[in-house]
Amino acid sequence: MTACEWANEINAYYDGELPAERRAAVEEHLAACPACQAQLQDYLHVSGMLAQLPLPQAPSPELMQRLHQVANRQGTAGVIRLAEWLTGVAAAALVVFAVGLGYRSTQEQAVSLPLWETDAVVQSTSDSASNSAEEQVAMWQVRDLSQERTHD
């Protein structure tokens, strides 16, 4: 039998989900539509079959015990959450301490240069000092020589 265009309305009508005015319209249509009457009968039949299904068994005592074990986890979960929070705080404190330590060490490093650097600077200073001393000696020699010529 070809489905009537009211088929969807019959579905909602069967479930008692239509407002009063739509319900009245569907009932009026039903009286004159064999396809919708058959559909309604099919719904009743399937519902009747489904009603034959046995009622679900009650949860077994073992299941209830398992469910209560699940509930007990809440208490454990609270302790775990506290432990996680404390671990987090400790980790944060450690990070702050490590960063502070690193910063301090950088500052100290900036003030006291490593040995190789100071050595190089000292070396370089002493080199320039020795150079200027040689220059000084050379200048004295030039001056002495020029004085000797004057005496001549």
Partner: protein, 181 residues
């Protein structure tokens, strides 16, 4: 004179459970385990799977109790969780069966005119429905939920529930056509 303190409501129990009151969650288990197990049994068709899904449902509820804003009733909230868990479980089971080719085709013909066979065929027909169709049939026909309640549980508009139910009934009628008078 009766000075008995009325038992706490579901909402009060949830509020207590959110604060870590284990006893409150135990009471919620006692109140809703039968209904949730029954729904799981309807959705999955056997007791063993229903037990597993019921346990997963309460474990998930416990895990999300702090996030539950209590806009829906506790029963609706638990039903939402259970339907989701059952769908996940059903899909996993279907994949396993495809892998192991253990799936028995639904026996929808009247194997004998005995009520027990009819019940077995009905159970098989329900399991043969698509997941969305099975959910609305179970929630409407077996649990007696209204369209609005089903819409809330499945988080879809009421119009979707109506059209889905219409198609689900057609599919179920087709599976049970040998039983049509």
């Amino acid at each position: 004179m009766n000075n008995a303190v009325p038992p706490p409501t579901d909402r009060e129990l949830v509020t207590l459970a959110r604060r870590g009151d284990t006893g409150a969650f135990h009471q919620l288990v006692d109140r809703h385990a039968v209904a949730m197990h029954g729904l799981a049994w309807r959705l999955l068709g056997n007791a063993a799977d229903a037990e597993d899904v019921t346990q997963e449902c309460f474990a998930a509820a416990l895990g999300s109790v702090r996030a539950f804003r209590q806009e829906a009733s506790v029963k609706t909230w638990l039903t939402q969780i259970l339907v989701r868990q059952a769908a996940r479980f059903y899909n996993a089971r279907k994949r396993r069966r495809i892998l192991h080719t253990e799936a028995a085709p639904p026996q929808t013909a009247p194997s004998a005119q005995r009520a027990s066979d009819t019940r077995m065929d009905l159970t098989a027909a329900l399991q043969a429905l698509g997941a969305e169709h099975r959910e609305v049939i179970v929630l409407r026909e077996l649990q007696g939920l209204s369209y609005a309640q089903i819409a809330e549980v499945l988080n879809v508009p009421a119009g979707t529930v109506e059209s889905r139910l219409f198609r689900a009934r057609r599919e179920l009628q087709n599976l049970l056509k040998d039983y049509t008078p």
